[in-house]
């Protein structure tokens, strides 16, 4: 399992959470939309935000986190600037997506669901994204890149790293 506690950062400004909650006052049934809004804003569900939501909705934290961890769409660790989703659907699998996963994991030194230390990349394995004709395919921040081979993935990662390098080595 991923160690969620370790990756949680407490230093988040939760003013936005308050704003969302004000809109959904007293609405236990609105848990999912609230979580979605909060995740869109922060890129993930910060622990402080979850605590605030739990407190306001009078929903025990254990149950709220239970909901959040049930749905694949929610993440409780901060995401990197680039979300690398590697499709592991049937078509991509046949075209060797497992190798892509391995390669990416090696290049980024992270596992599924984790974020690199420099907060640049988050890697995720996902189910079919509906672009089978391009298999094997990954998305980088919702932009699909198809027919990918080992070199291709290496290129993408290097390029993005270079673009974001503060000072060239």
């Amino acid at each position: 399992m991923t160690n969620m506690a370790a990756a949680v950062d407490g230093e988040v400004d939760i003013a936005y959470v308050r704003e969302v909650l004000d809109k959904y006052q007293d609405a236990r049934g609105a848990v999912i939309p609230i979580l979605q809004k909060v995740q869109t804003h922060y890129g993930y569900l910060p622990r402080a935000a979850l605590e605030m939501i739990s407190h306001t909705l009078r929903m025990p934290l254990a149950h709220l986190v239970g909901v959040a961890s049930f749905y694949a769409q929610f993440r409780m660790t901060p995401r990197g600037k680039y979300m690398m989703k590697i499709c592991c659907g049937t078509a991509c699998h046949v075209k060797g997506s497992a190798k892509l996963v391995e390669k990416t994991a090696e290049l980024l030194d992270v596992n599924h669901g984790q974020t690199t230390r420099d907060k640049l990349f988050t890697m995720e394995r996902v189910a079919c994204i509906g672009a089978c004709s391009l298999a094997p395919v990954i998305t980088v921040n919702d932009e699909a890149v198809g027919y990918l081979d080992m070199e291709g993935i290496e290129d993408i990662i290097h390029k993005l790293r270079d673009e974001n390098a503060i000072a060239p080595k």
Partner: protein, 840 residues
């Protein structure tokens, strides 16, 4: 078929005919018929089940047979249920194969072995090795708190722990996390379990996934001798089950089918039994010689006490002897104490801790209220139109009352309202919540009563109570609409200097809406101690001690003269004036428990102090003679709970060597002045059942199962007029001490026993004080800081907890830590103190 009441249905299960209430499930009917089903996720007291599929049965209705799950299928008239056909077994075996495929078969070292639902079920359906290869999960054993140990490798995901923690405990500390094969029940982010530590989750867990950490390796289910008795802590009166192996008390469990608590317990009841076998127990009488305390023989100690009481009465008159008794003492002991004091020594000044604080609500209860006395059977919870917790933090004070209320709220949608001087929440959710100014309780209640009676609330009262207008309107309107509230008055009211007026006002509100009031009582036998006449003003059965006829009645029953005694004012004054020469303190620690630091000096100054206690405490340390006593778990006897139910105590653990039961001590004192001996507590109980009004016939054998209610009606008579003042108490501002400190009991402690229960001490080791985060910040203090709480009367050290439960200007302190006696902060006669906080 003969005609049968409309609200029941009759069906047959494996050929046995059984009748159950409408709405019950087939599973309930099977339980009633004594037929075992290997279901693992059903619990009649919880909703949400139907997950394990092991309770499958075949139902034939109008010639058509179907398989159904017994826990989901309502019982209906005339159906035939089969639970044991080969087809059913086959299905169960397939389900079991899946369950066992992921279950580590650690039975040899699992504490649940022998009381494990999975073992029982697999054995029952004659499970053989299946086709699925076994695969173990390899999660670590989680020991992250003192009492609840979790091994989720064994979890079968039945969900009962999650549901009981939520529905019954209102805590929701654990939930389902993640999904699919990775799903687990547990805390969010796997943080350590921080909760009420009630252990309801471990009680319902069918396997060994959640266990009592304190029990580890002490024994297996089949090795324990199990004895039902009554929890020695608070006045709820829960039935506990002691599990003893070869003389060692290994753990306490609970039983859903016996007693008032439906299997629920709080941390004190379930994990607070370690005092029984504590190495700190007193095992021999000690007498003081100069500064030194020396062990002495029982005979000598008893001779000394009896001679001293006798001599004091002869030289200074009966008013020079007094007794203060604890309310954790069973009825027999309480009864004998007052009988020996009165008929043996002629001394009538006898008090309990709560009587010293508010006689009008204790021994004077029925004089004050008559038939309107705030004593109500728990069964009213099921009939109440609403719950109103006033000055009560039921979740922390009487947790099992909260456990009774939540399922009623769940099943009947009964609204719950809360009003408190602090910002107290009640889970799942109160319909309206109000915070009032401490000291203005009667004003608020009078305003609520006015609305209840169809009028309008006097604006001046609302201003006095300093309440939020909108919240008040919701509360007043809600109560009125719901009607018939159960008004539960908590510790804040019980200890309040104006408690008598507040309870009158609350009783009036309840009566105006056709409801009832129920007053918090602190200790396991507070009600019984009053009933038994541990009071200067009342004989057993609330007969007035100053009434010659009443004295004559007992004189005839006891065959000895009984003094007609009109108490000469409060004990405090008598001690101050030096009138009390000899004081007997039985089973309590008044020096720590009574509000006001002055008590210590007064008690210290009496010429002769005799104490009985299972452990040394702040009072025994001052005593000339201390006698070691058995606790309520080591001896038979009876307690009378909150609702006036007399319940039987059984010897749940072997008595500790050298300790006597208090009734034996009192009868030995009596023997020295010519009073009779009893063959056992059951004989004392028989006498109580003969002579005490209201207790007619309540012998040990009568109260064996489920107890019996005391008949207070005869003594209560009609209702009394309840005049009270609505003028708020003025809290004089004191610049040096700007905060108001309210004092309470920790959820994990109560009375003289909990400081010697290692598990409770580990959960809650030291004094703490709750304050509003902004008050704290204003003083440069942070959560977790070590602080000094200081009043005019003294200062204590405590750990700061910042919380919104404390409104601005109010702090809340626990009185359960002898190193930090919070009861010494207020002045005598008060229950709250003006204090200042500073960093230690």
């Amino acid at each position: 078929m003969t005609d049968q009441p409309k609200n029941t249905v009759t069906l047959t299960i494996d050929g046995v005919s059984v009748t159950v209430e409408k709405g019950k499930k087939i599973y309930d009917a099977a339980i009633k018929a004594g037929i075992y089903l290997p279901g693992l996720c059903y619990d009649p007291k919880l909703t949400r089940f139907g997950g394990c599929r092991m309770c499958v049965v075949e139902i034939t209705r109008k010639g058509r047979t179907q398989s159904k799950w017994a826990c989901c299928e309502p019982a209906s008239d005339g159906v035939e249920v089969v639970t044991n056909s080969p087809r059913i077994r086959k299905k169960q075996q397939v389900m079991m194969e899946f369950l066992l495929a992921a279950h580590p078969l650690d039975c040899p070292t699992c504490n649940a072995s022998g009381s494990c639902g999975l073992q029982d079920a697999a054995y029952f359906i004659k499970q053989t090795r299946g086709r699925i290869p076994l695969k173990r999960r390899d999660e670590p054993l989680l020991i992250d708190n003192p009492v609840i140990e979790r091994d989720y490798n064994k979890c079968i995901m039945c969900g009962k722990c999650v549901v009981i923690c939520d529905e019954v405990q209102g805590n929701g500390a654990i939930g389902f996390q993640k999904r699919g094969y990775n799903a687990e029940v547990g805390t969010p982010f796997r943080i350590p379990l921080v909760c009420d530590y009630c252990g309801q989750c471990l009680h319902v867990c069918p396997v060994g996934s959640i266990q009592d950490h304190t029990e580890r390796y002490k024994g297996h289910a089949w090795e324990y001798e199990k004895t039902n008795t009554i929890c020695p802590y608070c006045a709820v009166g829960c039935t506990i089950v002691a599990n003893v192996k070869r003389g060692d008390l290994a753990k306490v469990t609970s039983n859903d089918w016996i007693g008032v608590n439906n299997g629920n317990l709080c941390a004190r009841g379930r994990f607070g039994h370690g005092f029984v076998q504590s190495a700190q127990r007193l095992r021999q009488p000690v007498m003081r010689r100069g500064e030194a305390r020396e062990p002495v023989e029982w005979e000598r100690a008893l001779d000394s006490i009896a001679a001293r009481i006798k001599e004091t009465v002869e030289r200074h008159g009966p008013g020079a002897v007094a007794a203060i008794a604890g309310e954790g003492m069973p009825l027999e002991d309480a009864y004998l104490l007052q009988k020996v004091m009165r008929a043996g020594f002629g001394a009538g000044r006898i008090e309990t801790l709560s009587n010293l604080r508010s006689p009008a609500l204790n021994s004077g209860l029925f004089d004050t209220f008559g038939a309107l006395a705030p004593v109500t059977g728990y069964d009213f919870t099921r009939r109440a139109g609403a719950f109103f917790f006033f000055g009560a933090d039921a979740e922390k004070e009487n947790p099992v009352i909260a456990n009774m209320v939540r399922p009623v709220m769940r099943d009947h949608d009964t609204p719950l309202f809360v009003a408190n001087a602090r910002d107290i929440l009640f889970a799942p959710k109160e319909r309206a919540r109000l915070r009032y100014r401490y000291g203005a309780e009667t004003a608020l209640l009078a305003a609520l009563t006015a609305v209840a009676k169809g009028g309008a609330a006097d604006a001046a009262l609302l201003t006095a109570a300093d309440v939020d207008g909108e919240a008040f309107a919701r509360l007043a309107g809600g109560l009125k609409a719901a009607g018939a509230p159960l008004v539960f008055l908590g510790k804040e009211i019980h200890d309040h200097p104006r408690s008598e007026d507040i309870v009158k006002a609350a009783v009036e509100l309840a009566a105006a809406l056709g409801g009832r009031a129920l007053l918090y009582r602190e200790y396991a036998n507070t009600m019984g101690a009053n009933d038994m006449g541990l009071s200067s003003t009342h004989l057993p059965g609330y007969l007035p001690a100053g009434d010659p006829d009443a004295a004559e009645r007992y004189a005839r029953a006891w065959g000895r003269a009984v003094p007609v005694y009109a108490a000469a004012g409060p004990l405090f004054g008598a001690l101050e004036r030096g009138e009390i020469k000899t004081l007997v303190v039985a089973g309590c620690d008044p020096v720590s428990a009574l509000y006001g630091a002055e008590w210590k000096g007064l008690i210290q100054n009496v010429e002769y102090l005799a104490a009985t206690a299972p452990f040394d405490n702040e009072t025994t340390k001052l005593a000339h003679v201390t006698l070691p006593t058995q606790t309520a778990m080591e001896r038979p006897g009876m307690f009378t709970n909150n609702e006036g139910r007399v319940q039987l105590l059984r010897r749940a653990a072997p008595p500790q060597q050298g300790a006597w039961a208090e009734w034996e001590i009192f009868q030995e004192l009596g023997r020295r002045v010519g009073m009779p001996l009893y063959a056992g507590p059951e004989k004392v109980a028989e006498e109580i059942a003969r002579v005490v009004p209201g207790y007619e016939g309540l012998t040990h054998s009568k109260v064996t199962w489920g107890g019996s209610l005391v008949d207070y009606a005869s003594r209560a008579g009609g209702p009394r007029a309840l005049a009270f003042s609505t003028a708020p108490v003025a809290w004089s501002a004191d610049g040096a001490h700007p905060l108001l400190a309210l004092i309470g009991n920790s959820l994990y402690h109560l009375g003289i026993l909990s400081p010697h229960a290692p598990a409770l001490v580990e959960i809650d080791p030291r004094a703490w004080v709750e304050a509003h985060p902004e008050d704290a910040a204003g003083l440069g203090l942070r959560d977790g800081d070590e602080v000094v709480v200081e009043s005019r009367n003294g200062a204590i050290h405590a750990m700061l907890k910042t919380t919104y439960r404390s409104p601005r200007g109010i702090v809340y302190i626990m009185k359960n830590f002898s190193g930090a006696p919070a009861a010494h902060l207020p002045a005598h006669g008060d229950a709250a103190a003006r204090v200042a906080l500073r960093k230690a």
